[in-house]
Symmetry: C2
Subunit: 457 residues, 2 copies
Amino acid sequence: MNDHPSAALAAFAAKLRAEDIPAAVLRRSEDLFLDWLGSTLAGKSARAVQAIERYALAMGPTLRNGDAGGAEVLISRRLTSPHFAAMVNAAASHVVEQDDVHNGSVFHPAAVVFPAALATAQATGASGREFLAAAVAGYEVGIRVGEFLGRPHYRIFHTTATAGTLAAAAATGRLLGLDAETMLHAFGSAGTQAAGLWEFLRDAADSKQLHCAHAASAGLASAWLARDGFTGARRILEGEQGMAAGMSSDADPARLTVGLGERWATAETSFKYHASCRHTHPSADALLALMREHRLGADDIAEVKARVHQGAIDVLGRVVVPATVHQAKFSMGTVLGLVAEFGYAGLDEFDRHFVAPRVAEFRDRVAMQLDAEVDAAYPQRWIGKVQVRTRDGRILDARVDQPKGDPGNTLSRAELEDKARRLAAYGDAATPAEMGTLIAGVWALERTPHIGRLLGT
Amino acid sequence: MNDHPSAALAAFAAKLRAEDIPAAVLRRSEDLFLDWLGSTLAGKSARAVQAIERYALAMGPTLRNGDAGGAEVLISRRLTSPHFAAMVNAAASHVVEQDDVHNGSVFHPAAVVFPAALATAQATGASGREFLAAAVAGYEVGIRVGEFLGRPHYRIFHTTATAGTLAAAAATGRLLGLDAETMLHAFGSAGTQAAGLWEFLRDAADSKQLHCAHAASAGLASAWLARDGFTGARRILEGEQGMAAGMSSDADPARLTVGLGERWATAETSFKYHASCRHTHPSADALLALMREHRLGADDIAEVKARVHQGAIDVLGRVVVPATVHQAKFSMGTVLGLVAEFGYAGLDEFDRHFVAPRVAEFRDRVAMQLDAEVDAAYPQRWIGKVQVRTRDGRILDARVDQPKGDPGNTLSRAELEDKARRLAAYGDAATPAEMGTLIAGVWALERTPHIGRLLGT
């Protein structure tokens, strides 16, 4: 009865203990948590995020220190119920596009896993070690669900939103101590609420924040409801009227369970270096490498061909002239223009320069082109290839096999700390001293007996 | 910019005034509201509904009379925020399978429209007339979205859950006074949260209640967020990466706008007579007609062929031996067994007799068969055809063209009052005296200056 893929995945998530997880993976989960905290704090002042916090304020309770079961909204330092803390923190964590991504699944795990796990851990007083194990459970589940749903799914659906409900349910369920059977019910409730369409991209609408908010809160709700006896479909992923049947066309159930307990997908997750859609990073790094190698400035470049996979064209293809900073993060031309001009496409570079004349001129010199090798390697590998025609008539090529932040080219803890500090400062959401305390707390998580407030007093 | 179907539908919902709605349609919306109240009260003691109320209690605020912005959970008479009142009332309203249905869209409007509209009307102090206009806006939108998504959608997705988010957003947005542009944003946020898969049916899981809860609360949230400036996709329904692209295969955008302001889909909505899935009703009524005409008892019948449309086979086909009352409502054999035995498949009949030996024996004499005429007429018309082989060797046929409760064979106000009273008594959720007051209040809605509490004191 429990030998089908959904059940095997649920059993894995329910039974995963911290002692089963390699130390390097636990350390990586701390890295990922710090990276998520920075991303979330950076989202503090975004209009869409503040609207969701106002909604949470209107619809949810505001609790006081000492009230049972509270969880922290990081951007406002308000205590509320786990449902709404997860909702707002998730909305905040993805908006500056600096949160992590798993290449193979094209899934942003942190934005949905940590909001649900942190809210539940705070409300239940879980230990840091339990919290990390729960986060790993969420990553392993969400990544496999994303891989299972695959590329046809991602063409229309925002995988972080859809696979995200299951990832959030897995992390939450692990913290609530659900057994395998109950976890499977949580999966059923989560999967039947999985939603999120890419249509918003062409209008530069706020939906991405809603997608994360929805996935984290719906996934959290699914696990809490399951603990209370609420049942769900047993084959929500692979069943005849399940997620893949409705929202994919090449889903392979074997992908759900391959290497469970041996392959740690958590550790395959990439950190974002540039503050843009991950689909732009390989080209950006390739362009940087090319400019360094040939000592070119932006003015030396007449034309750039970014040779990409089809998924990049699907997601980025629509944005020609970006109307907002957020949309600019999905504009290949803008990203390459910033990189060419400043050597880096960070939050400040976007905010100050995304429509600067020189960047806009460069943008118009960029075109994307489907590349068979890049496309075949994707999504397991995100190869970056660019071809540049220089003003003086040379045709130059460059490639990177692992963009900065990928597992094989990852960020050091010093780089992660620096990134988190910059993000918090960008959001004006924590002082340098607070960030010092927060960072030390993350590195000490495994020895923390109870996860308490992170920022509020 | 606003001439595409999503925008036209949003503009219609935003601009619909009570004075534009024919009196007969307003009267029908009162009928539908009373019918919904009964269905919701009947759901009071269902385990899944109580779990959702406990979740709402844990995660949402509990308000007092006089607190600003409260809305009523009908089954517990608790005041909370509109988000959670909509969530719990929606969960309650569909569980006994007695709520209304629109045939052409295979959509249960009441279960998602009224929870969102009532919660918002109570929180904002709207008038009864505004409330009715908002409900009609929700019905007109949800039904057209269901028709648009069509049969390929319904094969995998629970249309009440998916189209329901837009229906709830339309009704809520109308009450919040959103203009056409803002309503379109609400649609975008609602549509990108649209979810709900049929997979749960084969496990008799609780997801149907979650689907309604999710649709009503997510739709409500979308409209409240839109009022606060939160934006959504402009073509969430018909866009290249919108709902139809992801979740249907024959969606025709013309269906979204045909007859807006002229054809009142609200008035096409059917009331349920039997307490089972609507797909069983045509066959049940045809069998009843046949038994009456030929004066047969259950024991005279050796075999029944229920001649049905494909949608009935898709939804009902899986349930062979029902394990729960809820699953029995999706068992054609059980429904026909109850009808043959008792002349009616009501809530009490299901509760007491769904596995009774005589009913189970009859169930095993029933088979479904795809019928070309029935299938071609569906979903515009739900024709019932049965063929019976009697113990004495006769082959008898019967048909009904409009099952009881359909617009052409509707329930009178006396029948609706009686049904609501029976439902409230079944749920042990209101006294006969309270139901008298409630019923009178519904018939006086159009003259009610502010929608207040319906049951709590």
